[in-house]
Symmetry: D2
């Protein structure tokens, strides 16, 4: 288990966001160690709007070569952000996340969008070829640090996720 | 692996349907052996409309105690059938499919609904607590016996599914 | 406006449910008059599991001939019920709700499934040919009688709904 | 009817795309006249990644002040693009498209994603407050110019759309 490579991807237009922090906490809670790679998508800037940028390609590669990745987004318009989708659009359909175990994570201000990680974000990750054993996780951005939900999720799903990610 | 208990659930209003046949083929292709239990939901009849029927309870239990289950439906109105959902409504939210690896399968007349198993059926199985490592599978009801798609799916996802289902 | 024919359809396995009551309130709030037809789906019983029953056909016809219909369901497993879907499966794809303005309504115990009427129920009604100008409405089954949400929805969307329904 | 203000929004990372062309054709087929405003989202460039840019604000305003808008995207990863979502993220939740009749349009290489405009794009437009009487339209990017589907859609839904858009 200690050889699983873990990454987090945060798709918030604000750098160093609570989204990124929550993703890091979830990755740590699920795997027991801090993530190896962190992609704060907004750092890639305008290169996300086109194809072929080397920094974007390097970020895509580090995600594709991970064993387990937390993909995190705030909730904008009842679903994941355009910023996160821009990054996901850079992966190859059906192949880009092959052999990657993906954890869909969304944060929001209230409970109304709790379904979105499972019904909206998870299918996109599936389309990229990811393995998605667990449902998505939805956290409240005002309480995620202390409400214990990330830990409950890790307790419920951590074993299945790490097992799927172990080669 | 030979100890994985495998079931198929088919939610077609017609008994002995192509849905059931396709589900059995997929279960066999994925696991290498014929399913241990077969639930043709329509056989449960009017008891599905209420709660507490012993035959329904026995069917629910045999599914809940399986390690890997193919949940299959024809495509009605761009999604799974009312008959299948009636049966799924009998399971306990978050717990009814705990420790069950679920494979969402839908059949249809044309390709337009290929997304439905992943975006519509899979989230319901997640809500029941199932582990869903692989995307859903969509088969054409006119060609599934010979088009090789069930075998491709088994080739692509069988190892991850059986691994997740093995205790 | 007084010539708009209004119906409510409630898909709760319990007859005379809060689902039916809420649907009636929403229809009344939106149109200003009590519904002309009420279909409590569970009353149709085991005939829903097959095709060609005359009572089911009469219920389908009365809905199809309405101008505005509230389709209501409790939230089971994060989506509409099998009972409601059984009834919807009786309509012809693309045509069964032609010229019907549909209002998707779901009730639940908590706020987590607030998206479901718009993302899950509304597309099924669209697939049947319905006109769906407004988003779905989600009500809490413990407070819908007094929390004013049905009235807010009627205030926000009533004019567009009635206008679309007027011939 | 001649006073309806019509816009098209195309969210393709390539400027002057087939997406934009198809959106213009659909708007014209539905309303009988060429669109008044055209937003090729990619023209807004890196300003889409932040908030408060005056060109983005002007584009948002011209859409918000329209009566009928075709929102168009190619299919990337089984859903709309990150580029389109970036632009939609600039609108105010529940209000940004108030009194706008929205037509969700997606183009793809094959028929497998035909559901996406109705199940994925339409709910985002609803969340922004748009009126969405008609289902989404999915066109094949290789045949949309001649296959007659845009015209069929206009025939089936044009009257309801224009009526909803007329003040």
């Amino acid at each position: 288990m200690q050889f699983v490579i873990v990454s987090v991807v945060a798709g918030n237009p604000k750098p160093r966001s609570r989204t990124l922090d929550a993703a890091t906490r979830v990755a740590t809670a699920v795997t027991g160690t801090a993530p190896d790679h962190t992609i704060d998508v907004i750092d890639l800037g305008a290169a996300l709007l086109g194809w072929g940028d080397p920094d974007v390609a390097a970020a895509v590669r580090s995600v594709a070569e991970s064993d387990l990745v937390v993909f995190a987004s705030p909730t904008f318009k009842a679903t994941y952000t355009g910023v996160l989708k821009l990054f996901l659009d850079q992966f190859e359909t059906g192949e880009g996340l092959r052999d990657v175990v993906a954890v869909p994570l969304m944060l929001g201000a209230g409970p109304a969008h709790a379904l979105a990680p499972t019904t909206l974000l998870s299918p996109v990750l599936s389309e990229l070829g990811a393995t998605t054993p667990a449902p998505g996780l939805y956290l409240l951005d005002s309480t995620y640090e202390t409400d214990g939900r990330a830990e409950e999720y890790a307790e419920r799903w951590g074993r299945a996720l790490v097992r799927a990610a172990s080669r």
